[in-house]
Amino acid sequence: MNLRALAAIFAGVLCIAAAADPADRLPDPTQEARARAIFADVRCLVCQNESIDDSEAELAGDLRRIVREQVKAGRSDAQIKGFLTDRYGEFVLMTPAFSWMNLILWGGPFVVVVSGAGLLISRLRSRPGDTEFSPEEAERVRGLSETDAS
């Protein structure tokens, strides 16, 4: 066990549990709900992959206070998130931006679906003419080899 592993464990332990501390709560429940929704999308920068909604770390508490203050001041979600990214970079948001830099990230699954569908369609259209056997013959041969194998 080395120091880094220990540090990771301590960070993990410190970051346990949630944001809903009654002492910090906003008086207006709709504003509080909005703040909580934003918390879930903001990363606790010193934790091991946790949002500030889940984290008990000091920095997460500071970020929650900033977000609550701005919600109270009537700023929009986009404005608050913009403020955070200006200060801490894209890393602070749990949702990656829809930007050209993230094209592979957002487009990758789509490409897999489209190319899979393309392959399936080409497979469905391929004529049996390019094999030596007609489908019936191939079926018989396979039937024979299967009985042979089992």
């Binding site: 934790c47 749990m94 899979g116 396979r142 194998a149």
Partner: protein, 659 residues
Amino acid sequence: MIAEVGSFALVLGLAFAIAQVGLSAFARVRRSIPLAAAGEGAALASFAGVAIAFGCLIYAFVTSDFSVANVAANSHTEKPMLYKVAGAWGSHEGSILLWCFILTGYGAAAATLGRGLPQGLKALMVAVQGALGTVFLAYTVFASNPLLRLATPPVEGRSLNPLLQDPALAIHPPFLYSGYVGMSVVFSLAVAALIEGRVDAAWARWVRPWALAAWSFLTVGITLGAFWAYYELGWGGWWFWDPVENASFMPWLMATALLHSAIVTEKRGALAGWSLFLALGAFTFSMLGAFLVRSGVLTSVHAFAVDPKRGVLLLIILALTSGSAFTLFAWRAPKLSPGGMFAPVSRESALVLNNILLAAATATVLLGTLYPLIRQALSGEAISVGPPYFNLTFAPLMAALAILLPAGPLLAWKRGDARGVAQRLWVAALVALGCGLLTLALISPRKALGALGVTIGAWLVMGAGVELIERTRALRVPVSDSWRRLVGLPRGAWGMTLAHLGLGVFVLGACVELGWKGEAAEALPLGGSLNVAGYHLVLETVGPVEGPNFESERARIQVTKDGQPICVGEPDRRFYPAGGQTVSGISLCYRGASHLYIVLGERRKTTAGTPVWLIRAYWNPWASLIFLGPVIMALGGLTSLSDRRLRLGVARRRKEQPA
């Protein structure tokens, strides 16, 4: 002395693994049966060696032999016995030894059970399995031996991380690794088939039981991990799209795809190349998972036992084994026969769609896990890929899969009857839609996504029912007739229905829990109360409790609903002096399938000086289904595994009835 015996046995295990490769490969070249038998013997001997080494490590943990470095770092004399044993796989070194133990175990099992296989294929499979054993054992012996001694043994050990001292997590690694490493047999069979140049229905039939066993173990392993996170981390979450979770989820998705594509290869001889690809991919993702979890390249809430330096070695192992296997695949796979034809509406097409969606889902998880690293390398900027990304990409893919799923088993091979399927499913579809609309209209008009989830879950459960009705021809033939059909159903069919039902149960649980969970938190003095989801919680007492290796403060919370007492919650907050950590022990109050989840937080002082405790309570509706669903799925896997048609070695000797 015992540790030295273990080290010696470990080296012997490595030597036998090397012999296993040489003997079996040579047996294939010479087509020699005695040599092949010697190779299989070496596989057994290698397993015996590693088993002895593993036994020695467990012995060192049980007896708290702190002269062994690994024991000193991960155990403590006051730890309960279960966690002493579990400590053997709680560290990097120990977990890799567990990996080797299971790997050589599967190798020995494949050598003994695979009697129905052709000589050449089997010898190659044993050789490849031996090569995998050699690589991982060499890594263990030279870079990560858990049995090394300390020059000056400490009086007391440093103990296992208290978060890991939990029954579910104690047995989580053996299950998870049995799943990961089970894919190695599938991998070896695929490489052997590529070398032989023959992939046919018989190959797919040999692969299936191993894939099924590994998949079932992996399902249980992941569920145990999720359940542990649910009640141990203390905020009621069970899946965080965390890299460590993703690492175990990717091989699961690949194995699920393989189980489905192997059916097409077995029954219709088609998709042979794709099945091979998945067979190689499943174990590749298992190794990638081990690398990601153990190397610490990605930050995670639950990365334990991390070591970056040795991560590089694991990466080299991954590149070597998977790289060579996929090179072989690229060379040999184009020569494989394409297999039988099928129409756009057919069981084959449905299974191909299943595979496309599962492959895309795997791509999503892979990209979401690794893209931050790629982006950092490309532009130097750090980004986060969190749950919102997966909700936007993975969830729609799975929803599409779930909507298509009930139709698949009802379609015929080669050319299906879309209209017939629609006729059989319309009642199920109506009921599912009804459930969704009722939820939307009566319970919460603003939770459209939750209602959609309920619709899909109900659709899956109904679909599994329709599958069973179709197979037994219930409602169309006399009851006694249906009963006879029901009893006579092959276990494989039961397995499939159970697995699909389990998915439906899981979807229902997950969507209801996510959509309708309630939360409340207050700083309560003694006698204070808070309300969540109609339940009234009163903090009655808080007192100290001595644990075996921790000190704790335990609260007693009376829960009532409409004045009726429901249960008493006793959450605690534990302090482990050995490592200086504090962990909260939550209390679960079961209400049917729903949970009332109570956490005791820190003690504070009010301005007046009276002590208050931060109490958080969550209402998690239908949360039990989240964990029950995967258990049903794994049971389905095991039921299917027990099908006589799949048992290795049996198929060849008994004359089988045509399916």
